[in-house]
């Protein structure tokens, strides 16, 4: 189509799915943020030109099918063990980019030991941590990040700190470890937040590409689980930006600079 001035209109494609994200229907529920986060990671890998140099690790959880969606070499992890797998890959292939994709039950409950020690060793890997305050795939059970008072299928009367303790803030906890190069908490609950999240994911991956061993990067992404929360996707996003962001503050908690090593 041409406009009145005779110029071609709409000839420039300004947005399409990133190459690394395969052209397949995602199995996630409507409004689930996994898809958005997959896109951000795929875009980052495309922009950094690392598609042929990356090995990803798929978690146990809704995102286990990562290998069906990303045009990357991907290893499937036992529940919580992704950082140990990533350690084994990164040490065997020191010049590859290695990332894990983990949920809150995976990373902050069963895999707490593996993430803490991989972080403390300063493994040069990027961890994308999806915090939606629940176990999504198994049907909405209580997670370590479940908010106080939040009802889940295993906290039917609401999480009570007297019996179940408190929601855990992983980004802050990991930022306190010497081996961590970058730690940030972001969300993808609005267009502006999506852009910030992408910046954070890019920084996380860039840490691996720097000349020297910077350490582990973790990007905690506050996300929705509309199905298990029993909310419409738009309301679920409001919850993320409201009570979740109040308890889990957004921001960068640590960012090592190259100069820190010089």
């Amino acid at each position: 189509m041409k406009n009145a001035a005779g110029k071609d209109m709409f000839s420039k494609l300004v947005y399409e799915r990133p190459k690394t994200l395969l052209d397949r229907r995602l199995h996630y529920c409507p409004g689930c943020h996994h898809g958005t986060i997959h896109k951000i990671i795929a875009e980052t890998i495309d922009e950094l030109g690392q598609r042929e140099n990356t090995v990803g690790i798929a978690p146990v959880g809704c995102a286990v099918l990562l290998y069906d969606y990303m045009d990357l070499d991907i290893l499937e992890a036992p529940h919580g063990r992704a950082p140990a797998l990533a350690t084994g890959i990164r040490r065997a292939l020191p010049d590859r980019v290695v990332f894990t994709y983990q949920g809150d039950g995976d990373l902050a409950s069963i895999g707490m030991s593996e993430i803490i020690h991989a972080a403390n060793r300063g493994e040069n890997i990027t961890v994308v941590f999806v915090n939606n305050t629940t176990y999504g795939m198994t049907g909405g059970q209580m997670a370590p990040t479940t908010m106080l008072g939040q009802k889940t299928t295993t906290s039917p009367y609401g999480r009570d700190f007297r019996t179940e303790g408190y929601p855990i803030r992983m980004a802050e906890l990991l930022a306190g470890l010497e081996g961590v190069a970058y730690s940030a908490r972001v969300t993808v609950s609005s267009p502006a937040h999506i852009r910030k999240a992408k910046e954070a994911v890019r920084k996380g991956f860039e840490m691996q590409l720097k000349g020297m061993r910077m350490g582990l990067s973790i990007i905690e992404i506050l996300s929705t689980c509309p199905t298990n929360w029993g909310m419409k996707p738009l309301d679920a996003q409001k919850r993320v930006l409201g009570e979740m962001a109040d308890y889990f503050p957004l921001g960068v908690f640590k960012e090592k600079k190259q100069a820190d090593f010089e």
Partner: protein, 69 residues
Amino acid sequence: MATGRIEIDFERCKACELCVPVCPRKCMEMGKTINRQGYMAAVFARPEDCVGCAICAETCPDACIRVWR
């Protein structure tokens, strides 16, 4: 006058509605036609107002939207 155009993959859309409120020009609406997944997919209701900002596409969790300028 439109300076952008989008294309929604009707069959992939899950009608999550996230693209509707984010459009600064209010071009998006939820449709009335059911796709093969069983969702009433979003529609590009006011193409004349589109500026091709791609915010809808960036927001779409299912990567259903392509944008041209």
